[in-house]
Symmetry: C2
Subunit: 360 residues, 2 copies
């Protein structure tokens, strides 16, 4: 962006990092005090339980005199959603003896991809979704991947198919993603799903998981979207663009900023809601934010940190410390949007199984 500032807004001094850590620990303490896993709660449909979460929306974290923003606690919301999904899967199994199934295809030996796939498998198991994993070597052919997809497309026990990206360079990503049956496209990346998402009066079968998670956080915290000015930073196919389409479906007035936008801070300053998926550490400074705005930070960027045992720490696109002083609500990184992505993948897989078996 023309006038973007990509420097780390957190200084390397411990003193300046303290408020960030304090807020995070404040949230975690609060969440632990809420019995989310209590079996007395009724695990009904996800959206209908929004009311039960309304207490969260009034929470303000342990803060310094300067800090005002609520923390939008994606970790706890995701936990709650997984709990609700577990209940729904149990109900479906009892009623029609069907268990949702998710197939994941991993090609190559990228360690990060292997970790993501392992995490998805664990998350599936935890809620009762059967996971099917196929790992192909790096030098596999496109045909081999397409054959696997075709098999999962035809398999009635599989309700969702996920291709772990990125694929090896010699494969055509578009061909492979398009081969996934639209009825099992739980990632929501098929252009037919995106087209339906863009069109009024049409309904996509699936919505991409990360942007769906962003909107779910707004809903769960009862943040009004209708009639609000919203800015999405980034126009990727998997986050920025579908996030903008979702906000528009909810009657926000949406502007998408991208690398060619001049003076992005002038536009963000008008926004009631900012969803940032730029992948630029601490790009959005406090001065970019309208007082009282709600900030959803999709960025997960490693920055060097000599004090961390790993030598780095993760920060978002938003300068969190500064945002906390001016926004009304902010997602932390980590623990904000991140945990919502897998929760939405589980939710999409459950929806697919329900739709296939006409289970309400």
């Amino acid at each position: 962006m023309a006038s973007s500032i990509f420097s780390d807004c957190s200084s390397s001094t411990t003193a300046r990092l303290l408020p960030f850590n304090k807020i995070r620990s404040g949230v975690l303490q609060f969440c632990r005090s809420v019995p989310l896993h209590s079996r007395t709660a009724n695990p009904s449909l996800i959206r209908t339980t929004t009311q039960r979460l309304s207490t969260w929306s009034t929470v303000t974290v342990a803060m310094t005199t300067e800090t005002r923003a609520k923390v939008i606690d994606g970790k706890s919301v995701a936990k709650q959603i997984r709990y609700e999904i577990t209940g729904e899967i149990s109900r479906m199994k009892d009623a029609i003896s069907i268990v949702p199934g998710l197939a994941v295809i991993l090609v190559g030996d990228r360690k990060d991809s292997a970790t993501y796939v392992r995490n998805k498998k664990k998350a599936c198991e935890a809620v009762g979704i059967t996971s099917y994993e196929e790992c192909l070597p790096e030098n596999s052919t496109e045909q081999e991947v397409l054959k696997l997809i075709s098999g999962f497309n035809d398999d009635p026990s599989v309700h969702g198919i996920l291709i772990q990206l990125p694929l090896p360079c010699h494969m055509n990503e578009e061909n492979i993603l398009n081969a996934v049956s639209i009825e099992k496209d739980v990632d929501g990346f098929h252009p037919l799903n995106i087209g339906r998402l863009a069109m009024r009066g049409r309904e996509p079968l699936f919505v991409p998981c990360t942007p769906k998670g962003c909107i779910e956080l707004l809903h769960r915290y009862r943040i009004d979207i209708k009639g609000k000015r919203a800015v999405v930073i980034g126009r990727s196919n998997i986050v920025g663009m579908p996030a903008a389409l979702l906000l528009q479906r909810e009657d926000a007035t949406v502007t998408i900023l991208h690398s060619r936008t001049k003076n992005p801070e002038e536009i963000t300053r008008q926004a009631d809601i900012i969803i940032s998926a730029a992948g630029q550490p601490n790009m959005v400074r406090g001065s970019w934010i309208k007082p009282g705005a709600v900030i959803i930070d999709v960025g997960i960027n490693p920055v060097e940190d000599a004090k961390s045992p790993r030598g780095y720490r993760l920060v978002g696109d938003i300068c969190y410390e500064e945002a906390c002083k001016i926004a009304s609500a902010v997602t932390p990184v980590p623990g904000g949007v991140g945990p919502m992505t897998i929760a939405m993948l589980l939710s999409n897989t459950l929806s697919s199984a329900k739709r296939t078996h006409n289970f309400k």
Copy 2:
């Protein structure tokens, strides 16, 4: 819109209408002096002839001391495009003995629809496209329409299929539009085409005609889009939404305004380019426009006019008189975007035939 002003900004007095008429006649005189139909011009691909039109972009119309805006003369641009298409069709016929074919299906007896279909047929004939017309009675069944579409899908002499909208109420528009083969969807309304339009790195086979015409006008008048602030008023599937996607593909920073937008005039005042498809006569007043902005007016709204023999005249969404005093360029209504829509339909049909027969 919350603060929209829908009154007619042109008073009914002849004196106030004069500048509008003067400007229009000034443009028409200029265009007549350019030998658009000269056979000495080389009818090559549409986009490659942009240079030849560059003289237009420096034209300022006969104006009063108050009036500054260029008139973006869609009528003349459309004429030029039809001329180029004629040349391309002739070249294709000579080379591979193929003539593009467009099938139009009309259901019911709406007079306006019948007029549109007749105009499309005439436009096809004028450039050398074979048109196939099927008219079904109002009480036809959805199955009958689907059968016709299926026949045209399989007919190799048909390269484009157009369903004249609106369809009778008892028919499911979505089912019928989705039945058109994506390779012949010259209207560009199929969600797969819209999805590809929305996604980076994907290419739609066809772009909806009216928004494509808007962007073509900007190109032909050499108006920069990249990095500009653009506002689209209206979010319909056939104009507003695809227009916004097209502007974004050209690297504009785009905001879509709609009926739930508060204080739209504050947002339009920041725009370098406004495309309005609100269907509200004279909604966008001079005070909504940033000095020097470029205005593309898609609205065609009848307003009462006792002085007109028909009892009404057509006006756009933009208060033309006021816009002319503040914008740098404006499309008139009629004679702006309107003629571009059919020109783009012909262009899409030609592209389809070229693609089918791999003719460059």
